[in-house]
Amino acid sequence: MAEFTLDCMGEACPVPLMRTEKKMTELNVGDVLVVAIDHSCAMKNVPEWARKQGHNVEIEEVDDGEWEVVIEKVK
């Protein structure tokens, strides 16, 4: 049940999504990845991809234009 973070601040689409996809392969089932983003389109496509994969996803707006996408790997 480890927690990982991925700092994607200052990165534009599709880099956050590509990095998230890659990072998720390193996680074990039950692990959590927190992706920090400040690009609003990544706030749409990262959760969309993760949900499509069947993972649990939560989005938190931490500040103006800053989000944390919390992804729990379920399979």
């Binding site: 601040m9 200052g10 990165e11 590509m18 400040d38 609003s40 103006d64």
Partner: protein, 186 residues
């Protein structure tokens, strides 16, 4: 007093109309319908399809003039129409005003959603890629006589075959671009 003000903003930010219209992104379908309506309105009002990048070429010419250059002999600006646009200036050019509107509108939208942020530059690599990418896009848009709006969206909507051909090569470019992106930014 401060607390009432805070309460006021909290109330607005949890209002469902605020959320639906200003905070949350529109769905793809809503976006597509709005684009179709505005593109049709553009054609009806101005008798001209919507485009973006040709005005940027004029911005470049004006900047070049400010720096003391002269584009009068350039083939691209040689037509009477191009010369007229350049001589009547920024404020008399509808395309320039429309582009300014896109930029100001985007700024307003991000302010309304309370999502405005000055982003930090992460690396020199990012700067190089942004500058190179911008130059390639601008140059490519002039060679193709339009960008993904003028040469793709408007062309396809006008039932022109050129839009589909542009789209095909846009995919080729996006494929190569994504390979480069994976190589240099992953």
């Amino acid at each position: 007093m401060k607390e009432t003000v805070n309460e006021f903003w909290l109330k607005i930010s949890s209002n469902r109309f605020y959320k639906r219209l200003l905070k949350e992104p529109f769905t793809y379908v809503t976006g597509a319908v709005l684009l179709a309506v505005f593109a049709t309105a553009h054609l009806a009002v101005f008798s001209k399809g919507w485009g973006v990048t040709s005005a940027f070429a004029d911005w470049g010419a004006w900047l070049y003039r400010l720096a003391g250059g002269n584009v009068d002999q350039w083939a691209y600006f040689s037509s009477e129409k191009a010369q007229k646009t350049l001589s009547s200036g920024f404020l008399n050019d509808g395309g320039s005003i429309r582009n300014l509107g896109i930029i100001l509108g985007a700024l307003a939208a991000t302010l309304f959603a309370s999502e405005f942020k000055l982003k930090k530059i992460k690396s020199k690599k990012q700067v190089v890629a942004a500058v190179l990418g911008g130059l390639l896009m601008g140059y490519g848009a002039r060679l193709a006589n339009g960008c993904n709006i003028g040469a793709l969206f408007t062309a396809i909507a006008s039932l022109s075959l050129s839009g589909w051909i542009f789209g095909l090569f846009l995919l080729v470019g996006a494929f190569i671009g994504s390979k480069l992106l994976a190589k240099f930014f992953m």
